[in-house]
């Protein structure tokens, strides 16, 4: 379906199929809610009745630590005035990226995993964000028309990032609340068969660990089962570990890298990890992503294709300084985890008081909320109906499960880390009031 924006006209000179397709997915409710926020954004003082943005997974709870670091180290880190330093960075344009930065990233990733695995800087490929990393990997591992299996519910952006320019298909690995949305071998096989029935060649499985939108780290047994599955089918495994630093307790996150080490797994070439500093360090504006691949060909190819999505050498230099500062990183990782857990407890508590239960989570910048019991009927339409009320009456932008391709209606992703505690309290109060009114209405009705 062609989508023309207001100021667009029928093209006189033809454009490509990609340009006119709607695979960019910007028409889904996920993005529509943002519009409501953009038009009427909440501000504690200037617009206290505005829409509170709870649909953006951004981490601001620990940004003060980063700000602090920048202030103290502006000379060396930021636009380092030392003549040679700046000059070198200004001229450095090698797509391998600064070695110091790759080393710093490897170390940081190791720290997040409690030092339980090691990462080789030579296997790190830099991209301008995890969005670019995921797309690049898809270009490399799959041909147009092929398929990637992705567990539902998944990040709505994948529909665009993995499919738009690459021309591949996403086939869902269905999960549901009966087992807390755990990925099962049966679901994996079912997805594989479904792809085969549509004549799609399956190229790999893409998991997000910890999961977005579930906010849960994948368990060791499940990771092992997934690895067994991809081995059996001889396909790739992409593990998007962008929220790995946002697990509330370090021991609860197991990276696929750890599984490989523990099993002394011999076919590592099929495994690739995506990481970024956007969520863990709260620096999405910096646009820093990486592909870590155990496959030499993928590393070489990704590196060459990273020419199209390079990170400014100055940004690399700044972050290399920051991430090499062990004192800063250790303190940051620990503090960030604690603050996120506290925030999580606060929202779970607040929602419970409003009569709403959430999936038990242990990671991420959001919780997975269940409004299923409050739907008139367990349908997508009812879910969207309640969602519309929440956006327009309660003035909260949250993400409906259907935009995440959740197989069960009534679930919503609610972000809590992109605001102050004060704002979160306001949001919780609004939800409480909304639910009270709804229950009253329901009772009065009967």
């Amino acid at each position: 379906m062609d989508i023309l924006e207001l100021d667009q006209v029928e093209p006189v000179v033809e454009l490509s199929r990609i340009a006119v397709s709607s695979s960019h997915g910007e028409d889904s409710p996920y993005f529509a809610g943002w519009k409501a926020y953009d038009e009427n954004p909440y501000d504690q003082f200037l617009n206290p009745s505005g829409v509170i943005q709870m649909g953006l997974a951004e981490n601001q709870v620990s940004f003060d630590l980063v700000e602090d670091y920048l202030e103290k180290n502006s000379d060396t880190a930021l636009f380092g005035n030392k003549a040679s330093g700046f000059r070198e960075n200004a001229l450095f344009q090698d797509y391998h990226g600064l070695l110091s930065f790759r080393k710093a990233m490897a170390t940081f990733m190791q720290q997040i995993r409690g030092g339980r695995v090691e990462f080789d800087p030579a296997r790190i490929v830099l991209t301008a964000g995890a969005t670019a990393a995921n797309e690049l990997l898809t270009f490399i591992l799959a041909n147009p028309g092929d398929a990637l299996l992705v567990p539902t519910p998944y990040y709505p952006g994948f529909d665009r990032d993995l499919r738009w320019r690459t021309g591949i298909n996403i086939v869902p690995i269905k999960t549901d609340s009966s087992n807390n949305f755990t990925i099962t071998p049966e679901a994996l096989q079912s997805a594989y068969d479904s792809a085969a029935a549509s004549n799609f060649t399956v190229r790999g499985v893409l998991i997000t660990n910890p999961s977005n939108p579930l906010g849960v780290a994948i368990e060791k047994t499940v990771l092992n089962e997934i690895l067994d599955f991809v081995t059996k089918k001889n396909i790739h495994l992409i593990s998007d570990e962008i929220y790995s630093g946002s697990v509330f307790s370090s021991s609860e996150f197991i990276s696929v890298a750890e599984i490989l080490k523990e099993r002394n797994y011999k076919e590592k070439e099929r495994v690739h990890i995506v990481y970024s500093l956007s969520k863990d360090l709260g620096l999405p504006g910096f646009r820093v992503g990486t592909i870590y691949s155990y496959n030499d060909k993928v590393v070489t190819t990704a590196r060459r294709m990273s020419s199209f999505t390079l990170i400014s050498s100055q940004t690399q230099h700044l972050l290399a300084c920051m991430l090499s500062d062990k004192e800063f990183t250790e303190n940051y990782i620990k503090t960030n985890r604690d603050r996120l857990r506290k925030r999580y407890d606060m929202i779970i508590d607040g929602l419970r008081k409003a009569g709403i239960e959430c999936l038990e989570g242990n990671a991420g910048l959001f919780c997975w909320m269940n409004l299923g019991p409050y739907l008139n009927e367990p349908t997508k339409e009812c879910e969207l109906e309640i969602w519309k009320s929440i956006v327009s009456e309660v003035k909260l932008n949250i993400s409906p499960g259907s935009s995440c391709h959740c197989s069960e209606p009534g679930w919503f992703r609610v972000c809590f880390a992109n605001m102050t505690e004060n704002t979160l309290e306001v949001a919780l109060k609004r939800i409480c009031d909304f639910m009270a009114k709804r229950v009253k209405k329901h009772n009065n009705h009967y």
Binding site: V9, V13, L78, S312, L318
Partner: protein, 494 residues
């Protein structure tokens, strides 16, 4: 994607024997094919390979051998999960192109006046270092203000660039054009470099299996490619001063059509990298007429050297404001002597292209702190004024120095009156055999004996042998004399 040089270009020769050059090889080719077909042995000859599928992607490599991808995926080692055709072609790309060999040599033994005077001089990268000191000085005075703003932009920002940056870039480009054009911020898209900008535009304007016409010689750095669209080189000849010939464009277009290829646009750099000509009024409008007639797009890669001419001339940017089919890619990194910063600008008045391009920048955005820095420096109108003037003077002076030095050695330089950071040099008199091999032998000698990395014409798809691109904007005045001495050493020993 495949690189096709129209037949008329293949047999060029010094005297430019075109007619014989095109008819004879064609005739011989067909005769040979017929002979082979007639004489094939049914039992022993393998069946001919199936025609390539529509989505076969071949990736451009600066060395003129084609890299074919296969429709069936190859497994690297017994049973390992396969990768895509696209990945296979890219990974098969030679690591030993002149561009890469040159880069490696320079980085392993880089020239430095004080610490390594015998090192390898870099004249093979299209990059401007001449005015980096001005930026450094500006930064020394202004860096502190930038730090305060960083928190504001650490959160998610529009992928196609901060509003303030678009305003600053529009203002900067207007200054570069001396106020003669109005640049509209809403028509600007910011992305992570010229390669990203061209990549984005190519995804917007063409589908897999389509083609773009690219007048050659062209800079291999400008044309990094991965989207399955063919590049058809349209050769320009020294006899025409390497100028764009509409006839050549027309021929290339028609040949593409015969092969069933749909041409979606023309990609030019202005000034023509590495040749150096700026498009004249006449040529510009001829190209526009051609594009109008064929209903295709024009992408023009520009920078401030596009506007360095003392006499006013029309630019693609001006045309872009009124023509839907014209899109400018502006090399901002090069303007500011900051190649490592990777900043490219797309400028177009085509609302549909802008809309798609903006969405695509999510895959190649510029980090926010860098945008802050740019907003600050580009909004400093006084600085920009001085910078543009000084940079122009330095580029002009260095260019002249190099030309004069080469002339003293008896080496002809393509006299580009206007822009660019290259001298396009004719060293065909110094190659042993008039062939690709002869040219590459000289290139290797210049690199290994002369210890200077230059760009050989064949890496730019120049159909005439013996031309080299010398980028002078990496040099200091003192370096120029060293360059001359080293060239003298090489040509005298030849």
């Amino acid at each position: 994607m495949r690189l096709i040089v129209p037949l008329q270009g293949i047999v060029q020769g010094r005297d430019g024997g075109l007619v014989l050059g095109s008819v004879l090889p064609c005739a011989l080719f067909f005769i040979m094919q017929f002979y082979l077909w007639r004489n094939r042995s049914v039992s022993s000859a393998p069946p001919p390979p199936p025609p390539p599928p529509a989505d076969e992607t071949e990736v451009f490599s600066p060395v003129l051998h084609r890299v074919h991808s296969r429709s069936s995926i190859s497994s690297p080692r017994g049973g390992a999960a396969p990768v895509s055709s696209r990945a296979n072609s890219i990974s098969k790309q030679s690591n030993n192109t002149p561009y890469q060999i040159g880069l490696k040599r320079v980085s392993s033994d880089p020239y430095d006046l004080s610490t390594n005077p015998e090192g390898v001089l870099q004249l093979g990268l299209d990059e401007n270092r001449l005015s980096l000191d001005l930026v450094q000085d500006w930064l020394a005075e202004n860096a502190m203000h930038l730090i305060a703003g960083i928190s504001r932009v650490a959160t998610y920002q529009p992928f196609d660039g901060l509003k303030e940056l678009k305003v600053a870039v529009a203002g900067y480009m207007s200054q570069v054009m001396e106020g003669s054009i109005d640049f509209h911020p809403s028509q600007i898209v910011i992305t992570a470099g010229v390669s990203s900008a061209i990549d984005i535009l190519s995804f917007c304007l063409a589908d897999i299996g389509n083609a773009f016409l690219v007048p050659s010689p062209y800079s291999p750095e400008d044309m990094k490619w991965r989207n399955g669209v063919e590049i058809i080189a349209v050769p320009c000849r020294s006899a025409d001063g390497f100028g764009l010939s509409i006839t050549a464009l027309e021929n290339a277009f028609n040949q593409a059509k015969k092969r069933g290829l749909k041409v979606r646009g023309i990609i030019i750099s202005n000034p023509r990298n590495p040749v150096g000509n700026l498009l004249s009024h006449e040529t510009l409008y001829s190209v526009l007429d051609f594009a109008n007639e064929k209903n295709i797009h024009i992408i023009s890669i520009e920078s401030s050297s596009s506007y360095s001419c003392s006499t006013h001339h029309v630019t693609m940017a001006e045309i872009a404001n009124i023509e839907d089919r014209v899109h400018v890619v502006y090399n901002l990194s090069n303007d500011l002597s900051l190649p490592g910063f990777h900043i490219g600008v797309i400028y177009s008045s085509n609302a549909n292209v802008l809309s798609a391009a903006k969405k695509l920048t999510r895959f190649s955005p510029v980090s926010a702190p860098i945008q802050l820095f740019l907003i600050s420096i580009l909004s400093d109108k006084e600085f920009v004024k001085t910078f543009i003037e000084t940079n122009r003077n330095r580029v002009g002076k260095m260019h002249l120095m190099l030309i004069e030095g080469l002339e003293k050695l008896g080496i002809e330089c393509r006299k580009s009156i206007n822009g660019g950071l290259y001298c396009w040099v004719n060293m065909s008199g110094f190659i042993r055999s008039y062939s690709e091999k002869g040219e590459m032998d000289l290139w290797e000698k210049l690199l290994n004996v002369g210890k200077m990395n230059v760009t050989p014409g064949m890496a730019c798809h120049c159909i005439e042998h013996g031309w080299f691109g010398f980028c002078f904007a990496n040099l200091t005045e003192h370096d120029v004399s060293i360059v001359m001495n080293r060239i003298r050493k090489v040509v005298q020993s030849n």
